[in-house]
Symmetry: C2
């Protein structure tokens, strides 16, 4: 089989703040050699996700940092192009963790064969994949939605936020999104069926969020951090739950503006309102993946959950797309098509 060279993007330097172009390096190398029990994978789609920013730092996180010179990590939808495993054949489409590169060899124990008859294969990176399960497990386990609760989620047009609000609606909640710009807000209201969506760029954001939540907030699904949480904090009801899933507003920060008394206000609010704040990552709830998959496939078929993809063509455009993602300039689940 005639193979091209392997094109890949590696971490060239640890970013200080915003990841710059020079923090990545585009390389062309040999396609790795296949050994017994392994498969050779060609990437079809690469998922770009905010967590990748944390993995570029050396500081301890919930996972190992990417080493300098190592391929940037990431989930992919890949095709098996050669197999020395009895379990997979050439032509199989799988969910893999190949990273930002065209070819990868892999043992087979973490591969998952995808069935395009259940749903388009890209959903394995979005609504039926890690982002969807993040929304599902964080909302149900920590958010504990009850009929009549008001849920607020930021980045509501994004891969996780969009699913959080739609599941909350299924559970009988009022779902209020926060997104950047009117076209995203319109999408969240009209295509995703949230009860309301507020533009955080609006000069009257705080008043608009209050208007959208006449009964306060019972669940705030935290994707963002920063200024939005400041506003939300004053609107939380007694016994509100705050699943802390991400803090994208902080990922690029080097210095923080001193905010006098904010930490004290947070702790005092936790106490007097008897809030629950709980951080999680999706793997904390791995045993629930069967429940998630069963429910989400059903909801997709019933038309109760919708999703939107933002597809960028070409590995050479991955860095720019990732930089835009960190500024919320994507519109839907961000994918790179090879």
């Amino acid at each position: 089989m005639p193979l091209n060279k392997n094109r890949r993007i590696v971490l060239a330097a640890r970013p200080e703040g915003e990841p710059r172009d020079t923090d990545f390096r585009f390389e062309v190398g040999d396609v790795p050699v296949l050994r017994e029990g392994e498969v050779l994978l060609r990437t079809i789609y690469l998922s770009l996700d905010p967590y990748m920013r944390g993995r570029m730092d050396a500081r301890p996180s919930d996972a190992q940092p990417i080493g300098i010179g190592e391929v940037m990590v990431g989930a992919t939808v890949s095709e098996v192009v050669a197999s020395k495993s009895p379990d997979f054949n050439s032509g199989d489409i799988v969910l893999s963790y190949s990273g930002w590169q065209e070819y990868a060899v892999s043992d087979t124990k973490h591969l998952q064969r995808l069935n395009p008859e259940i749903a388009p294969v890209t959903t394995a990176l979005g609504v039926l994949g890690m982002p969807g399960m993040t929304a599902y497990t964080g909302l149900l386990n920590i958010g504990q939605p009850k009929e009549g609760d008001t849920l607020v989620v930021a980045a509501a047009a994004g891969a996780v936020g969009s699913v959080v609000g739609q599941i909350a609606r299924i559970k009988g909640c009022r779902a209020v999104g926060i997104a950047g710009g009117e076209s995203k807000c319109a999408h969240v209201r009209e295509q995703l069926g949230f009860d309301d969506c507020v533009d955080h760029r609006s000069s009257s954001f705080s008043a608009e969020l209050r208007e959208a939540c006449p009964n306060g907030i019972d669940i705030y699904f935290e994707n963002v951090g920063g200024r939005i949480f400041d506003v939300v904090l004053g609107m939380l009801n007694p016994f509100a739950r705050v699943p802390v899933c991400g803090l994208i507003a902080l990922y690029n920060a080097i210095e923080f503006a001193p905010r006098q008394g904010w930490a004290e206000r947070l702790m005092a609010t936790v106490l007097t309102k008897r809030l629950t704040l709980r951080g999680f990552i999706v793997s904390d709830f791995l045993p629930q993946s069967g429940d998630f998959f069963r429910d989400m496939v059903l909801w997709l078929r019933e038309g109760k959950v919708h999703y939107r993809e933002d597809v960028v063509d070409g590995l050479e455009n991955a860095v720019g797309a990732f930089q835009r993602l960190l500024h919320g300039q994507n519109f839907g689940k961000l994918l790179v098509r090879f």
Copy 2:
């Protein structure tokens, strides 16, 4: 029955920061008139507790503020001195909520008859009362102690903290206290049986706490806030639980020093360590009062829980004692004996 005048302490002004003597007013009034179904109570012991500081403020809390001119609130052990209720007789000793005064009339539905044969009646204000149940419910429900966990509690010589650590030991945890001064620390280690206790006034407090917790911290029972929590935050293990019970270090604060990045560090730690922070007050767990009472009476009898009382004589000394309590200058459960 010849009755004295009723001596009482009312809220004269809302404190700005530290409660000053002039924020309280000592009054002498008539003993209230008894109506059908009520009892007249004479206070024997008044409990002084940190939560009272919050009730002096007008800002919303988990309970109604005390009105200007109203008697300061508080739990009491009282004697029934006259009864127009079939349920109580003169001479009965009851747990009441008479406040900072010598006499009160009360309907009988919130009164609880105390049996001195079970335990000294003062324990109804401490280890067998609200402080003990706060420790029990917060630790068991939110802290979820498991064998081998390390628990840290500040104000470890106080009414709540002392019980938290002793229950943690019963549940198989390593219990580490934080207290102010060597005599309190010695008491916590020797009389209360904590594994260790660290003096937060020590110049090497942070290093000493690390040494006392070689395996990090799995449960931090938050009584205090401020600088101690800053140090603890960096020592919390993945999946640590933080019951937020009180923030005495903040109660008198008017302005806070700006702490650059602290709020962001807190939220980032919640996320990456998957912490649970949850505020509570004891009444959230009211249905567990039977379990609490049964367990605690047993532990007292078995000598597994010890307690210490700090008794001040005379209502006229209540204000000074309360001011000292807010500076951690009490040593054990603070009571005013009438």
